[in-house]
Symmetry: C2
Subunit: 142 residues, 2 copies
């Protein structure tokens, strides 16, 4: 059954979740080459882009909760992709050389992913959808 044929297809809860799950699946495929989940990959991209970035900034940028960010960092630490230094109440997260080596491949995955859905949906339509999802998310605040 298509999403649009479900009895609940008029419901924002149903639709946003169904879409997110399908996109997630596509994303997981895209990041398989680097053996990272999409969230881990995005967090690592942030760290590579801004070495020393602090968890709270990651919370802000990735819109996840502090505890989730801690857990993501922990896993990347296990994988020797980042290191953490704690001074006082602040923590800095730095990429390891291993992560830096991976950077080009990571960017490749980002590109592959966006091409994957642009192919299916059309570049314009997907861009428009992203903009309007963001607008709505903004309005829902916090």
């Amino acid at each position: 059954m298509k999403t649009s044929e479900s009895r609940f297809c008029k419901c924002m809860y149903f639709s946003s979740n169904a879409l997110a799950r399908k996109i997630e699946k596509l994303a997981i495929e895209s990041w398989k080459p680097v053996n990272l989940s999409p969230s881990h990959a995005y967090l690592l991209l942030m760290v590579l882009d801004e070495p020393g970035i602090q968890p709270m900034a990651l919370v802000d940028e990735l819109q996840l909760t502090p505890s989730t960010i801690t857990r993501l960092i922990e896993k990347l630490e296990e994988k020797k992709m980042v290191v953490r230094t704690t001074e006082g109440k602040l923590t800095n997260v730095y990429p390891t050389p291993k992560a830096k080596d991976l950077q080009p491949k990571l960017k490749e995955c980002v590109k592959e992913f966006s091409e994957k859905y642009a192919t299916v949906l059309g570049a314009d339509e997907s861009a428009r959808l992203v903009v309007s999802m963001n607008k709505v998310a903004d309005k829902l605040g916090r």
Copy 2:
């Protein structure tokens, strides 16, 4: 930081997830009065609407995996909201009287929820967004 200001706001993965999480939060609030999570509530609504419905039909309608559907039903069974009868390889799920009593309240929650986001986003805009999310989900198939 607003969703639209994140470094990743152009990415479908980020945006669809951020939106789904925010909507989920709103939905959880809306179904607190009946002490059910949104997924449980929707499954129960299906069962009330179509007593004896089989798990596979729920998989189809709710677009979740079979295992997730099993788990959701189990929990509703614990709560004495549904009963399962298994004959051969098929299972039928029926609402209990307790669930039937709850039905009006459940529908009330659905309404509250949709009013909640319609207020924030405008009825038209939210309807449009839902339609286009469904369209995209359809195209992503499977």
